[in-house]
Chain length 98, copies 2
């Protein structure tokens, strides 16, 4: 299991629109092979900031299966114009015993 | 429900020691009032980098109940010397419909 982590900074004042678009976009990611679960959460300390956490079976399910798909083009069209700067996406894996 | 997020950068070469200390420290946080669950995960792309995610019932359970406790002193003694730089901790909350 791999956790994708992306901290999302949204252009000032566009958070409500972003949340609306994300509600549509989440059905895209949820339908992908290897997708397990996701959470989008809003930062308490900073306005227009979110964290997206997605659990995937493997890193390839995210980086190849999803990012090279036609579905990703729809995801991108719905969401990418809200981000500033463009987010750094990282992957995290289990630590034994933790 | 509040999600505490901390990206932890560990001093070069000390990751194995940090993981061992965290295994001890996690019993401290797990026993606190308002604690719900936690995950420590290791970054795939960058060495000596982790993410700690802790679910709390309220932000006060973390910031007051935990951070002002005697248990926090033990947590600090076990973990804080591994971090460089010292982590920024943020809190995230539910987005309706996401």
């Amino acid at each position: 299991m791999i956790l994708e982590v992306a901290v999302l900074n949204i252009k000032k004042g566009l958070s409500a629109d972003f949340e609306k678009s994300f509600q549509e976009a989440q059905s895209i990611i949820s339908s992908m092979k290897g997708y397990t679960s996701h959470e989008l959460k809003k930062c308490v300390e900073q306005e227009d900031k979110y964290i997206l956490l997605v659990n995937w079976e493997t890193i390839e399910d995210h980086e190849i299966g999803f990012r090279k798909s036609n579905e990703y083009k729809k995801w991108k069209a719905l969401l990418h114009h809200f981000y500033e700067p463009f987010p750094i996406v990282e992957h995290y894996t289990k630590v034994d015993g933790c």
